[in-house]
């Protein structure tokens, strides 16, 4: 965090000065480790084992927060008797089917027949309940519970059995963390959690970029729920995002499978009509049952008067999904010639994304490419200065792609907001005019839309109705016709259609077309016609929660699920942790923050078993977005790789899975078996014996598109380097500051080397494991250049969110500048020479299609 988020880290240092204990778990000893009270070196890719060990410690030593766990989580809920755990099936859950996917039917609550998750992408992935009204949690209030937590099929007992393998000994063997250190972490965490104290987890993309990335976060969630650290001050799990306002871009919404406010993108086949879409996505109970109001208001915001009840509010004009269109899938399709055009805005995939050579191959197959950025970055220059052009393997004159470069305005040259990790929007005002042709993203999107509307104005085709109906009626200002960003904020926040008055918040949205709202979770950011995100009242003039600094979604709540900060009776768990409570005199929830609950619902309220919608929220259901109002220790749906986190090795690992010897990798991982994307599958293979992990340095930003052009930053970290231990340096005959060549199955790069005590070999899986650390800031254009680390990384993904595995893969290191710059994507010759003699299976027999895997038996 100190390394990549130094400004946010000031609050960690402030907490430390007040006596907080800082624990840092990371494969490298970083700037964060240098000020931590406990540093834990961990083998890359083994965090579920570490966190799972903590879960086991908390359960076996009865250190969990009993009242919190009993009332606020699904610990007491009974699971379907057909459910089988990884303990029963040797590393797999019940429901694995030969299509390489889980059917979650057996993971459900007993007697319920399907629970709909808080939000989800059912259309794409066919979760249980899709299209079946009887399975959408109608009977969720009839679920069976055992308040003693002793029933063998209760979530609590399943959890206990599932994590029983994760002993301190197993943690040591899997993670390389000495038992004494692990126990110290466990004890510190337990002592600092409970009624009077809370602990927070902060993570960054290092936790997510694994084939089991989502389950990393799930494990932390389970731990925090057990310790009672969710919905309470000083607790929680804080996702430190990789770029400014990445939170805002997911909220509002740049992911391929989401509409603004985490509404699922409609599916082309299943959601022909709004009615179908609602039926497929609306749960019967709790807050997400309100989603029809949000989708209808969104359609009214986008299509205005053209959206009427008769035409389904224009639902059919929305783009619709036909399948997985995530980043890697799109690029793979591109390389196969299936895409014509590509917009790249504020991103630099040729340098910043995995297997850059494969990305550039994709770009070469396009008809046209639009890049919007500050400098001519690697993506804009892929046809001119890419490594394969420099080596003569690809000739510029053979590339047909037409490249358009649009210079972009920086954040100081435009008005707008940043949404940070705690969901707070803070406004920034334009300080100077953008030079020359530089324009804001808003300007670009607006004028592109206007031109498209002009182009399609005369069309009578039904498919063009969507573009014709788009309102795009923002007032424009200034010499360049910049759209009025305040008008956009107003539309995002929502208004009543009849009089155009801003709505105070999402509770006032309707599903009859009388309101419009561009993003329901942001509803209220323009309440009273005031840009609430621009508020800057000093902390000296308001309470410590500072509700009048900026604006936080939802409803200006600074702490989500804060009903959990009070006990089941509605009283604060302790005076010290007092935050939100039930005011018996006023018959309302009250507190320092906006209560995250139905305002007048007493803690004693219990819904009748046939209750629907918001009436189903019990007085002790803090997690109101979930269909049962509880924190999910066990996730009956919403995840594609199991209801509980399980330690699987990275796709490329140097050791067999120490915890589940029968199942090496996440069985549900998304592989991209292509000639340009070879995997290194054997473990204990002398050709690729080391673990490689990638990361950022304080001095640069991501792939360097902004920082490698600035001399003051360039001089601070001028050259691409790797970091290795003294032990590995000695073994390989490498000298500090010398040159080395690093090879993986995809590519080879050369870089300088820092030999440092901050890296140490560790012992796991019965052998010594060396880790090579690689910053990924360099590439082939800019004031300083260097080989890009991302060329080394495979296309392989977590099945839930399609993120790549860039934090743990295998490679080799040789002293000297021996790189020929080879890339599997352009040489046509795989780097894996000679071919692996054989590879032990990654999966249990029959789990995955063996078509693409190397031979699993030694050749005769």
């Amino acid at each position: 965090m100190a390394e990549a988020h130094p400004v946010g880290f000031r609050w960690v240092m402030e907490a430390k000065n007040r006596g907080a204990t800082i624990i840092h778990v990371d494969p490298r000893f970083s700037r964060t480790s240098s000020v931590a009270d406990l540093y834990v070196r961990i083998r890359p890719g083994s965090d579920i084992a570490f966190l799972g060990g903590l879960v086991r410690y908390v359960i076996e030593n009865e250190r969990y927060f009993k009242e919190y766990v009993l009332h606020y989580t699904n610990a007491a809920t009974l699971i379907d008797e057909r459910f089988r755990d990884t303990e029963d099936l040797g590393g797999l859950f019940s429901g694995w089917d030969p299509k390489e996917a889980y059917d979650p039917e057996t993971w459900q609550y007993e007697g319920v027949g399907g629970v709909v998750p808080a939000t989800g992408h059912k259309e794409v992935f066919a979760e249980k309940g899709a299209g079946r009204v009887d399975l959408r949690g109608v009977k969720v209030l009839r679920r069976k519970e055992d308040p003693t937590l002793q029933h063998p099929r209760s979530v609590f007992q399943i959890l206990r059995r599932h994590f029983s393998r994760y002993t301190p000994e197993m943690v040591e063997d899997t993670c390389g963390v000495p038992q004494a250190l692990f126990l110290r972490v466990a004890e510190t965490l337990c002592q600092n959690s409970g009624r009077d104290r809370t602990s927070a987890f902060c993570y960054a993309v290092g936790w997510t970029q694994h084939t089991v990335g989502v389950q990393y976060i799930r494990t932390a969630s389970i731990l925090q729920l057990l310790l009672g650290n969710m919905g309470r001050t000083g607790g929680g799990i804080l996702a430190l995002r990789g770029h400014t306002t990445i939170q805002g871009s997911t909220d509002c919404a740049t992911l391929y499978d989401l509409l603004p406010g985490y509404l699922p993108m409609p599916h082309a086949v299943q959601d022909a009509k709004l009615e179908n879409y609602v039926r497929n996505n609306q749960p019967a109970t709790h807050w997400w049952s309100e989603m029809p109001k949000y989708i209808v208001s969104l359609l009214k915001a986008w299509y205005g008067e053209a959206a009427t009840r008769e035409n389904d509010f224009g639902f059919g004009w929305l783009p619709q999904l036909t399948g997985n269109h995530s980043h890697m899938t799109t690029v793979a399709d591109m390389a196969d010639g299936k895409l014509k055009g590509y917009f790249v805005m504020g991103e630099n995939p040729a340098a910043g994304s995995m297997n850059g050579a494969l990305h550039r191959k994709g770009l070469r197959k396009l008809d046209w490419l639009v890049v919007r950025d500050f400098p001519l970055n690697e993506t804009a220059e892929f046809w001119r200065t890419a490594p394969e052009i420099a080596r003569g393997e690809v000739r510029t004159e053979d590339i047909q792609t037409e490249v358009f470069f649009f210079p972009a305005a920086t954040h100081t040259e435009k008005d707008g907001s940043f949404t940070n990790t705690q969901r707070m929007l803070q406004w920034h005002h334009k300080a100077i005019e953008a030079p020359g042709d530089c324009r804001s993203d808003l300007w670009f999107a607006y004028h592109l839309g206007k031109r498209l509307k002009a182009m399609y104005a005369g069309s009578s085709l039904e498919r063009d109705r969507g573009i014709q109906a788009l309102t795009l009626d923002y007032p424009v200002l200034g010499p360049h016709d910049e759209p009025d960003v305040q008008a956009v904020v107003k539309e995002i926040s929502g208004f009543t259609v009849a009089d155009g008055k801003p709505v105070p918040g999402f509770t006032k949205l309707a599903d009859d077309g009388s309101t419009a709202c561009g993003c329901w979770i942001y509803s209220g950011v323009y309440a009273d016609g005031v840009n609430q995100a621009a508020r800057r009242k000093p902390r000296s003039q308001q309470s410590w929660v500072a509700p009048e600094w900026g604006w936080a979604w939802p409803a200006n709540r600074r702490l989500m699920y804060n009903r959990a900060s009070a006990d089941p009776e509605g009283k604060p768990w302790s005076e010290r942790k007092r935050y939100v409570w039930w005011d018996e005199a006023q018959k309302r929830w009250s507190g320092y923050d906006v209560p995250d609950f139905v305002a007048d619902r007493p803690p004693s309220y219990r819904p009748p078993p046939d209750a629907r919608g918001l009436a189903a929220i019990s007085g002790i259901d803090p997690f109101i977005m979930q269909a049962d109002g509880k924190g999910w220790l066990f996730a009956p749906s919403g995840l594609l790789d199991g209801p509980l986190p399980t330690h699987y090795e990275p796709l490329e690992s140097v050791i067999p899975n120490p915890i589940y010897p029968e199942q090496q990798c996440n069985p549900a991982r998304d592989e991209y078996p292509r000639r340009e994307n070879p995997y290194h599958l054997p473990y204990d293979d002398p050709r690729f014996p080391y673990v490689i992990t990638t990361y950022r340095l304080t001095e640069h930003h991501t792939a360097g598109g902004m920082s490698r052009w600035l001399s003051w930053l360039c001089e601070l970290q001028p050259e691409m380097f790797c970091e290795i231990s003294r032990e590995l340096a000695r073994e390989k005959g490498v000298e500090n500051a010398g040159w080395v060549t690093i090879t993986t199955a995809r590519a080879e790069i050369e870089c300088r080397v820092l030999v440092t005590d901050r890296f140490k070999p560790l012992r796991a899986g019965g052998r010594v494991i060396h880790t090579i650390g690689l910053p990924y800031h360099w590439s082939y254009v800019g004031r300083i250049t260097g080989d890009p680390a991302n060329e080394l990384i495979p296309f392989v993904a977590d099945p839930n969110v399609s993120i790549q595995e860039s934090k743990a893969f295998t490679g080799n290191l040789r002293p000297g500048r021996l790189s020929f710059g080879r890339r599997a994507a352009t040489d046509g010759v795989e780097l894996r020479q000679p071919e692996p003699p054989f590879s032990p299976p990654r999966d249990k027999p029959g789990v995955r299609d063996p078509k693409y895997l190397p031979a699993q038996e030694p050749p005769k």
């Binding site: 100190a2 130094p6 400004v7 880290f9 000031r10 240092m13 430390k16 000065n17 000893f29 700037r31 964060t32 480790s33 240098s34 000020v35 931590a36 009270d37 406990l38 540093y39 834990v40 070196r41 000495p178 004494a180 250190l181 110290r184 340095l697 304080t698 001095e699 001399s711 003051w712 930053l713 360039c714 001089e715 601070l716 970290q717 001028p718 050259e719 380097f721 500090n736 500051a737 300088r752 820092l754 440092t756 005590d757 901050r758 140490k760 560790l762 004031r783 300083i784």
Partner: protein, 273 residues
């Protein structure tokens, strides 16, 4: 407007090595880069203070534990080998008795109303006497114009009641700017706090004349956790002019001795056979 004796207290136990101070200093003072070269010295690639680097963050990797800084506070040995990574943002010390100021023959270096030591670029003739007179190696001549440059304590910002750029940019309050008396008090409390928490190694470097007689105390002083040499600071810096009296006395004795010798030799010659 800010008045009084101002300075920096740099608490190295709070430094996270982000180098925001280096960049903020270069940006505010519009200083050029020092070239793009990897030194191999941990994360330090600017090397030292110089004509165009007025803040410099040192990174010291050492095989010793430091409680609360990557090692447990209670001294328990829980992992592989003792290790800590010290970081320190170095700067001109604005000495109470400044060697550069006393050595400057043109009057280009003066002490400002804020107590800082300031080189006037329009008066400096580039003689370089100040460079050798600085016991910390802070002052440096720029190759292109030959003049001497160093930290100004952001004199132009102080005139406008702004804190120096480095202190403003420091996210963790490792660099604290303020009135020297207040800073010293705060620094002493911090040392006490650290000692109570088990960081017995913490001490102040250059906080006053008792602490550092050779400079009579620094306006930019430091909280360190190892010997000064580890941070590339001199253990006992002495301003050359501090020994001026001593050297004059020594010289006087020498001359007297020589004179006596000469007189003696003449006398002995006269009294010869």
């Amino acid at each position: 407007m800010t008045t009084g004796q101002m300075g920096f207290f740099t608490d190295t136990t709070l430094c996270i090595g982000c180098k925001a101070c280096e960049v903020a200093c270069k940006q505010w003072n519009q200083l050029p880069d020092d070239g793009f070269r990897l030194t191999g010295m941990s994360f330090d690639n600017t090397g030292q203070l110089g004509a165009s680097t007025w803040r410099h963050v040192a990174f010291v990797e050492r095989p010793e534990a430091l409680p609360g800084q990557g090692s447990p506070l209670d001294g328990a040995k829980l992992a592989d080998g003792a290790f800590s990574w010290l970081m320190m943002s170095d700067v001109c010390k604005h000495c109470e008795r400044a060697g550069c100021l006393e050595a400057c023959p043109t009057g280009a270096i003066l002490r400002t109303e804020f107590g800082s030591v300031y080189v006037q670029p329009d008066v400096c003739n580039g003689c370089g006497y100040c460079v050798s007179a600085c016991p910390f190696g802070v002052v440096d001549r720029r190759e292109d114009d030959g003049r001497a440059w160093k930290c100004t304590l952001c004199y132009d910002r102080l005139k406008e009641d702004l804190v120096p750029a480095c202190a403003k940019a420091c996210p963790t309050a490792s660099i604290q700017f303020g009135e020297i008396g207040e800073l010293k008090e705060r620094a002493r409390q911090r040392v006490e706090q650290l000692h109570e928490r088990g960081v017995g190694e913490a001490y102040l470097y250059g906080a006053d004349a008792v602490n550092q007689p050779g400079t009579e105390g620094l306006h930019a002083f430091f909280l360190l956790c190892d010997v000064p040499e580890k941070y590339n600071l001199p253990p006992d810096p002495v301003v050359p002019t501090k020994k001026l009296g001593e050297s004059w006395r020594a010289m006087a004795w020498g001359i007297a001795g020589l004179a006596a010798l000469a007189v003696g030799s003449v006398l002995s010659a006269r009294s010869g056979p």
